[in-house]
Symmetry: C2
Subunit: 473 residues, 2 copies
């Protein structure tokens, strides 16, 4: 059944029913997408101030069959927050930005969905605790969106994905049902885990309005090193060696190809090279734990040198040096953006097959477009690589328009063949709906549709994201 | 709509349709319950050998509206595996006990549902890895049941609940749909997380037939100590101190009241006391990690002594001593069983409110039945306590028949009031269906019913467990 386009008259109806509701025009800032790939449309932005207003909005939209796009910080990379069709409403929880409670004794913080990730990190730090989730867009990304997309980032190896950091949620379903499940418990076996169903559903099953999140003790020491390795296989052998020597203190383990740094050079970034010469492959490793952590990593890297697992290394001697090493890793996406990829991929594969992935994907892509440049980097310790394909120097991404789909297909086919995922951390959004249909197990896909039909029978929530949905208009 | 009682004719129909199906009489062993609280009934036990047979069974039962009880090792404590009504079939996956793949490089093991937990632990150890889940019934409990009930145990503090150890599942829904989602990935953001919906659903949403499970490096050192503390508040202060000094290496942190050891004395167990005198409250703590772990705990306990957080301590000097300390903790449930509780509780509460819980629950219970004996023990580091109420010496549990419900209600009301859960790790089963209805948020409960209706519309899967279900017969 079709959705009904929202009209000014319907907006007036909403405002009459919810007198305190703030309703703004959907100005350009709400309709942009970080990489400029899509141009969104929307009649208006609804900005409620409390969960009850969210419930009223959804109930009325559901009755009228009006589509809603739940909107966080707008930083998603798969088009989950933009729809290129008119007649929907954006629902932003940016006015719901209270930190409701910080309880270091319970290692818990309860926040509303509109709080930015960085604000959560800062509130945790002020309470002497760590909220370990870290992504490049943390200053803008809001917790509601971070949970809705089950964001990954650089701390997953040690602390897990977003879903692993969530104790409880408050959420609203399409019909206005409020689920109040803001527990602060590590253990609660009373019925189905709706929390994990909502987390990662990208706003298609419900709108998360608040969450209770896990906090951790702040580690006494952090050790950060930048290393030259021969390639992905050696990087992973090093990871295994560090984990067996040091225990599970390895917090981040990021692989970088020199292409990323070469792009930064091209675009005039003055990033100093931390190593003597720039190798083809580099690793940024960080461990954290009790005092002695830095010395332990130094010793382990000494062994790695002797065993020829690494050929060069620098260990940060100060927080400033640590920040400088991380700045390289964190600036790489900006170099990519300025270069302009033909196609980006966010894949994961079993660790034992990652080196094979890099080799086979390279061959498959170059069979389609021999002259492209490839920047492969990412959270290799989690089995997650960003595998981005760029035009040859002097050519533009438009020159590859005829090959774009084949490039993506080649990378995704190799990924799937190796038992991997074509969306490791960015989600499905609108960009990968057909990939989900192509690669997902049939029974799993059918069950996902059954769950969607049960919780949002009219398909008003983020229509067309994750699963192909009810047509608009 | 009512379920249809299974008949011998229906069994013949199943056997005709699935020639290789093994179908046994439901002898006494299949119908018992560990504490002897309920006596189950069933027409027969179906024992398929592969996922396709499971799918055929469920499809045929669904068509005929015949109820199925998915049966693991039969060790559950809330009646999820026993039904006191005729006309249902037990579905045991005990013949599906293959360890399909052990991949230490991927820190993954893939096993069928019929494998016992202990066999998984042993296979992981043989591959030089750790599967950290540990529960008292691990020699009997099967992985299918362990996942279905999201079992807890003694390693949750460090490694999480069962659900945190599962990378992927293979499962069959009520209509015979097979979900094949046996990934071995840490990151996969392609659609709704059906894995977490099935885990902890106690066989009411689907039957888990296999799982890929996370493995961990084996820690180089383990340190185990038995401590005397003043009470729960001091125990938790000690835990916080250890975590901030040592990092997240605390693997187990178990609280015991002397009542548990007194029961063991009463029943003739010759458990030697590890401490000079038996204190009212004891803690068993274990840390594990890189070399230096034992020395670090010894030093931290020295500080705890000086700060008067503990009054006596023994640190295991050998594996035999470690086993002896753990034997005390692990024998306590047997002492409880022999004493015979009036009512057992499996509660969790925020750490900051646990000491208050112990105080308030004690007062509330004694207001109902002044002379009872209380044994309070458990995974205090997870906020999880087993709070079991026993007859006064010389009296029997039957003497308290009139107060039993009020005792449970008193404990659960205090728990709920403190933001806790009335089923921390044992699940809902049939025992706590009314508790779930009483204490659960209304929106959450309604949504759970909607999910059940979507995935098992005829209510054939474990009818009456978790949610009150379709009537039988």
């Amino acid at each position: 059944m079709n959705l009904t386009p929202a009209t000014p008259a319907f907006l007036d109806h909403l405002k009459d029913a919810i007198p305190a509701l703030r309703c703004d025009p959907a100005s350009a800032g709400w309709l942009e997408e970080p990489r400029g790939k899509w141009q969104g449309q929307a009649l208006a932005v609804l900005r409620p101030s409390c969960v009850e207003e969210v419930a009223s909005i959804l109930r009325l939209c559901n009755e009228a069959r009006v589509g809603i796009i739940p909107y966080g910080g707008g930083t998603g990379l798969v088009g989950g927050q933009v729809i290129e069709a008119p007649g929907v409403l954006l629902l932003s929880l940016d006015r719901m930005h209270a930190i409701r409670d910080t309880a270091p004794e319970d290692n818990m913080i309860e926040v509303e969905a509109g709080v930015t990730l960085q604000s959560v990190q800062e509130a945790a730090a002020a309470a002497g605790r760590l909220f370990p989730l870290s992504i490049a867009s943390e200053g803008t990304a809001r917790i509601g969106g971070v949970l809705a997309t089950n964001a990954g980032g650089t701390g997953v190896l040690r602390y897990g994905n977003t879903r692993d950091l969530v104790l409880g949620v408050e959420a609203v379903l399409a019909d206005g049902t409020i689920i109040r499940d803001l527990k602060r418990l590590r253990k609660d076996n009373t019925g189905y885990d709706l929390r994990h169903l909502l987390i990662g559903s990208e706003g298609t099953l419900g709108v998360i309005t608040a969450a209770s999140l896990r906090l951790f003790p702040r580690p006494a020491e952090r050790a950060t090193a930048f290393l030259a390795v021969e390639g992905p296989a050696d990087a992973l052998a090093l990871l295994h060696a560090l984990q067996s020597q040091l225990g599970d203190v390895v917090t981040a383990f990021e692989l970088m190809h020199r292409q990323g740094m070469d792009f930064l050079d091209e675009h005039g970034f003055q990033m100093p090279d931390p190593l003597e010469t720039r190798p083809d492959w580099m690793v940024l490793v960080e461990t954290s734990g009790a005092s002695g952590t830095v010395a332990a990593l130094e010793q382990a890297l000494g062994s790695a040198f002797e065993e020829e697992r690494i050929s060069d290394a620098v260990l940060a001697q100060s927080d400033a040096q640590r920040d400088a090493l991380w700045a390289i890793r964190e600036t790489i996406p900006e170099g990519n953006r300025l270069t302009g990829s033909i196609m980006s991929h966010d894949i994961s594969a079993p660790l034992s097959r990652l080196a094979t992935f890099v080799e086979r994907a390279g061959k498959a892509v170059r069979a389609v477009a021999p002259d492209v440049r490839i920047n492969c980097f990412g959270h290799v310790g989690d089995g997650n690589l960003h595998y981005n394909v760029f035009p040859a120097q002097g050519r533009a991404r438009q020159d590859y328009a005829a090959q774009t789909e084949d490039i993506q297909r080649a990378v995704h086919d190799v990924t799937h063949d190796l038992g991997g995922s074509v969306s490791a951390e960015h989600g499905v959004g609108r960009l990968k709906v057909s990939d989900l249909e192509r690669y997902s197990d049939a029974g799993r896909l059918r069950t996902q549709r059954a769950v969607k039909a049960a919780l949002d029978p009219r398909g008003i929530l983020n229509p067309g994201a994750v699963l192909s949905g009810a047509p608009l208009g």
